[in-house]
Symmetry: C2
Subunit: 380 residues, 2 copies
């Protein structure tokens, strides 16, 4: 449940059709290296990501023809991380992927002295703190590094130029919240909640539709950018087929945040309409939904897709609740502040920790759920 | 004389051989978009750079085989700016270069519908404010953009991957000040000055040697990175063959800064040794010196090399002195603060404007000098 908080979002008012619509856009996590920074509070994500490490190595070894890709590309292998945030996790991921590719190349060409050079592209939104990313790049890296500012729901690279792409804890962040859930009197109006967890079917559908559109755009862009035979690995939040999100530990978090914000509005810290107009742009798909998106795109083969336990290393949930909420705060604080102000946001996180500690026995029954979606695709 | 201040530097103490050496490393200019930011105070550079625009277009049209380069590279043209700072000048330069290349491609392939895609790499030191650069990227750009953190005196790209490289107002910034000029009792010890302007022959030689080494490293790296037939354009500070730097308007600036800092030390704001240990890592070569470096490298042909007046648009020097010093301050302030503190730095810039206004008649006689070195190289 920890790797949940890779990006934040921001509210924007869009004026048109004589009415004001609130759209909650995705934003990158907290920059810098301070107490609440993502760079200091993302080690849960690191550990959860490492669960998939050996599988990625295995897929590269079995299915990525590094020799062929390199020789068709002037011995340059281009690797991209979509949703890199500020580090350090992205550097760990890049290192592991490169090591696996070097290993594969060596096994394919045991006697060659001509090894590929690696060009690694770190992508995130333009408002991501690339300064922190760049100044913390490993000094002893054996690749050439670039930062790529832009939404990964759009094209970011020239056609057929990327050999290996990965995205870790990023693709569950929608490009924006679905507009209808903020529309007063629409059947999908999500009054009094900040997410589709525990919401009406219309709200869930609106989120699912937004996810299908966003993930479709992601795959369309990557299908153009990846070379034939290139590999795309995705690690993100997921949900077992047919399971309501309120059964998931992250769903409980959203419900809790929503009810605390309603409490605070009743206490007069802000108007209740602020909660109504705030919807977190996050969606965890089931493998079935993801398969549909991939099949609709039609340019990738599914090499591997599975749900895994993101925290097999965790011995008990209740002991890490404050730390978990620190991770949540590191990632989400800016958007809450934008919408609700400093004071209310601070209070919300304070109460969140308390309330989740009160629910620790329930959380304890859920933290072993397989809610991490792992996906390996190969470009046709 | 305006385009002088593209990068700053910072003092570092290096411990070794049982003594402390001060090395002044180059640093990027002021970040952000505030009063003294480079992004707000670099329009002199923009205008001076535009002096070379039509020449660059001409060279691309005459000598760059865009059709051949694109078709050998899967229709992807890769362009790099070495020393991009925070913008906006780098975007203007990129736009002009890309337009010229598109024009050339169209003239080579009038009937094709397959146009190259452009991948543009913006390079500067890792401490450059890439956040400002990325958030100010033109929305309507027709290229894919990357930031590349690292010193351009090292390798930054895979071999044979760049088709067109340029560096504008950056290459006169040495990687560091020559160490000997800070060494007490060395014949090249540069006591009481902050630059080689008006200094002893030993000091000038030490700087010249450092420049030859740095520019050599720059060309060595670019020679590996550029494809055969690729083009490298450099716009930087220069000096006519054999002319002492004290005759140049920028030399007068350094002399003035040095003497003000000596004044301030005598007034007790800091110890005189702070001036002795501070040497600005900047060198303006003559065409003759540059030719030697290029010939030593041996992997480029010189297509064009000339000195130009960087400010033909300037009607009078004296009216722009305060603005000029604002540009200087935007670019240099951080390093002066590092060495001399806030208060002294503020005073230095205040007095600098005054003193240069007092010398306006002398400056007026010099601002038409041809001190901008323009260079077009082609990779063999």
């Amino acid at each position: 449940m920890a790797e949940f908080f890779t990006m934040d979002h921001q509210s924007h008012q869009i004026f048109g059709d004589d009415k004001v619509k609130m759209v909650i856009n995705t934003l990158p996590p907290n920059g810098g290296s301070g107490t609440f920074s993502y760079s200091k509070n993302s080690y849960f994500q690191k550990r959860s990501s490492s669960v998939e490490e050996s599988k990625i190595e295995e897929e590269i070894q079995k299915k990525l023809d590094v020799k062929k890709l390199a020789s068709a590309s002037n011995m340059i292998i281009r690797v991209a991380d979509f949703g890199c945030a500020t580090g350090p996790n992205t550097f760990v991921n890049a290192h592991k992927v490169l090591e696996a590719m070097k290993h594969k190349h060596k096994s394919q060409c045991p006697n060659t002295e001509t090894n590929p050079e690696f060009h690694v592209f770190f992508n995130d939104l333009p408002s991501n703190d690339f300064n922190t990313l760049f100044t913390s790049l490993p000094q002893d890296r054996n690749f050439f590094a670039c930062g790529v500012p832009g939404s990964f729901y759009n094209r970011l690279f020239p056609q057929s130029s990327i050999h290996f792409a990965y995205s870790t804890y990023a693709l569950h962040f929608l490009s924006k919240s679905p507009e209808v859930v903020q529309e007063l009197n629409d059947p999908a109006w999500n009054k009094g909640r900040i997410h589709y967890t525990s919401a009406s079917e219309e709200v869930v559908d609106a989120y699912a539709t937004q996810f299908a559109r966003d993930a479709g755009n992601f795959l369309d862009a990557r299908a153009v950018e990846l070379v034939p035979g290139g590999m795309l690995v995705i690690v993100m939040q997921g949900v077992p087929n047919g399971m309501p999100y309120s059964h998931i530990i992250n769903g409980m978090l959203f419900d809790c945040m929503g009810s605390i914000l309603m409490e605070l509005s009743k206490e007069g810290l802000f108007d209740e309409s602020e909660v109504d107009s705030f919807n977190f742009p996050y969606y965890a798909p089931s493998p079935e939904e993801m398969r549909k998106v991939i099949e609709k795109n039609g340019r990738f083969s599914i090499e591997r897709m599975e749900l895994t336990d993101p925290a097999p290393w965790l011995k008990s949930m209740e002991q890490v609740i404050p730390e978990w909420i620190l991770h949540v705060r590191a990632a989400m604080e800016p958007i809450f502040i934008t919408q609700f102000g400093n004071q209310a946001t601070h209070q919300m996180f304070q109460r969140l920790t308390k309330q989740l500690l009160d629910k620790r026995h329930l959380l304890q029954t859920k933290y072993r759920d397989k809610i991490q979606l792992f996906l390996v695709l190969k470009k046709n």
